[in-house]
């Protein structure tokens, strides 16, 4: 596709995202079947989630609490009364012939997320956060008769979802990417979902249209589906925006339709519109009572909210004096942020702790193929190690060796330092003894130094460090050498 640069700047894209997130409840939203991922197909099913006649749904309290948590963290207003509705459509992985969702009275609405792209902060509106049930899973490939048959696994049928609908406030694929990243970080902090796009616990559809930049009205939108990674989202949006601009430029009209992203061919395809006639004939779900949220329950959930990433980032930057980039990196996951705080609480200097966590520790973990969340090193031990570095008991290079051992052996830093005899030598007498030996053995260099070639001092420091296997405190070595040589 070739759209000229001028055409590209003439238009702007209008993007809204619909994000579906599986909640981390133990049981399904309307029945007591397990939500465990990866079990044998159709082994976590019952009359309710199989859609057998006469089975009645009962709402899971925890699903409501988690949805509320997400809604509050996304600055939404919780409706004291909401209700469920049936969304009617036919698909084999939807055994009842309708999905229980929320329609005209959702759980919550009118929230926002702040994003920052290229230094520009923007508030992206959130239209609503509502509760619904997931459908089962259709497998269209991988079986000998896949040409003719689809295989249906209903373990996922009835897993609780929240749908988070954004306002059409996003303008570029980068903004969409940033929005989804922020959203994911928040949900991970709340521990309401594991937000794994590959496993499908976070799914994203995008509504996209283009218009002449600044025009008041929206263009005709398409809905792009099958965006199962952050990268696909960006690529599919870029492709779809370009496709629409090209059509508008050449005088064609855009069709309102659902399009699928094909990652192999790097393009979107229109889906047969007949099969996806968007007339869901919503009506109130008669099998469920309206959902009433009391003020007490709402406040109880609000109190349970953890400190959110943006506020934590701000605090790390201001109270701990960390560079903004470090503060951002440390708060990407709640576990990392909390670990950092524990290390600081354990007595480590914040900047030193940030450096070691983001650089040496991350590097060593990767080298040892150990995950951060396996916590091979306790925060208290980490703090102790950094205290040793701060007090110059051991050098940075040695500390790295010690940390490597801590990861492998899970021993404390004191023990490793003692066992390996790695304490830094801070005893002036000991250092002086070594220095005198070095001086005696190298009369030529001594002469050079005394003739004014003071750079030779560095060479002497190196010799002493070598003789002490790097354990001498380099600053002390330098002081002692100067005294001995002059």
């Amino acid at each position: 596709m070739a759209v000229s640069a001028t055409a590209r700047t003439k238009y702007e894209a209008v993007i809204g995202l619909e994000v579906h997130v599986q909640l981390l409840t133990k049981s399904k939203i309307f029945c007591s079947c397990s939500t465990h991922f990866g079990d044998p197909p159709n082994s976590n099913v019952c009359p309710v989630c199989l859609g057998l006649p006469g089975a009645l749904p009962v709402l899971n309290r925890e699903a409501v609490a988690m949805a509320m948590k997400a809604a509050l963290a996304l600055n939404c207003a919780i409706n004291s009364r909401s209700r469920f509705a049936r969304k009617n459509y036919f698909y084999p992985d939807l055994p009842k012939g309708y999905q229980i969702s929320q329609y005209d009275e959702p759980l919550s609405q009118d929230g926002w997320i702040e994003i920052e792209v290229e230094g520009r902060k923007r508030r992206i509106g959130i239209t609503r956060v509502h509760l619904e049930e997931d459908a089962g899973k259709s497998l269209h490939e991988g079986f000998p008769d896949s040409e003719r048959k689809s295989y249906i696994d209903l373990n996922r049928s009835g897993v609780p979802l929240i749908e988070i609908v954004s306002e059409p406030d996003l303008r570029t694929p980068d903004e969409a990417y940033e929005y989804l990243t922020r959203l994911r970080t928040i949900l991970l902090y709340l521990d309401v979902s594991n937000c794994n796009m590959e496993e499908g616990s976070l799914r994203c559809d995008a509504n996209v249209s283009v218009r002449v930049a600044g025009a008041p009205a929206f263009g005709i939108k398409t809905e792009v589906k099958n965006l199962n990674s952050f990268r696909f989202l960006q690529k599919a949006l870029a492709y779809e925006i370009e496709r629409q601009i090209e059509m508008v430029e050449s005088g064609e009209s855009i069709q309102q339709e659902t399009r699928l992203w094909d990652s192999r061919e790097q393009r979107t395809y229109g889906m047969r519109s007949k099969e996806f006639a968007h007339d869901y004939r919503y009506f109130p779900e008669p099998d469920l009572l309206p959902l009433v949220i009391t003020e007490e329950w709402k406040e109880e959930v609000r109190r349970s909210l953890p400190e959110l990433p943006q506020s934590r980032e701000e605090r790390f930057a201001t109270t701990h004096g960390l560079p903004r980039q470090d503060a951002t990196l440390l708060t990407v996951t709640r576990t990392m942020a909390e670990f950092f705080e524990e290390v600081v609480k354990g007595g480590a200097e914040p900047k030193l702790a940030a450096n070691w966590l983001l650089n040496e520790y991350s590097f060593l973990l990767e080298e040892a193929k150990v995950g951060f969340t396996d916590f091979p090193v306790a925060s208290a031990d980490f703090a102790k190690l950094l205290t040793l570095v701060g007090q110059k008991t051991i050098s940075g290079t040695m500390a790295k060796e010690v940390l490597r051992d801590m990861i492998m052996t899970r021993k404390g830093p004191d023990q490793i330092v003692t066992e390996k005899g790695l304490q830094q030598i801070n005893d002036t007498e000991k250092i002086a003894a070594v220095a005198r030996e070095v001086i005696a053995a190298n009369p030529k260099q001594v002469e050079q130094y005394r003739k004014g070639k003071t750079a030779t001092l560095g060479w002497f420091v190196g010799q002493v460090m070598k003789a002490t296997r790097g354990q001498a405190n380099p600053q002390l070595v330098q002081d002692v050498l100067k005294k001995e040589l002059d």
Binding site: S32, N42, V45, V58, N88, Y269, L289
Partner: protein, 101 residues
């Protein structure tokens, strides 16, 4: 008659029903009379009444919510017992996905 043949075809289509000409002749007036009967309700003034979908509401004593405690119900074989066709622990249905440009 307010209802048209086109309306009936549309609704039948959404329900995946195929109607013969005869069935159409039979159902069109039937559906129309049902709708007309419902229209009658619109003659009442309900402007002062709060819309409601249910007649019962949960109370704080009976919030009608379930605890999040998983429980096993069907084994895979039981779940699939009535399936017209099955394989690899799954329900088998005619292939569904199709697309076109």
């Amino acid at each position: 008659m307010a209802l048209t043949e086109k309306d009936v075809r549309y609704v039948a289509d959404l329900a995946h029903l195929e109607l013969t000409e005869e069935e159409m002749k039979k159902f069109l007036p039937q559906l129309d009379s049902i709708l007309q009967y419902m229209e009658k309700l619109n003659e009442l003034d309900t402007s002062q009444i709060e819309p409601m979908a249910q007649v019962t509401y949960p109370s704080s004593q009976h919030p009608s919510l379930r605890a999040d405690a998983p429980r096993k119900t069907f084994a895979q074989e039981e779940a699939l017992a009535n399936a017209p066709e099955q394989g690899a622990g799954s329900f088998k249905v005619p292939r569904v996905i199709e697309r076109e440009e």
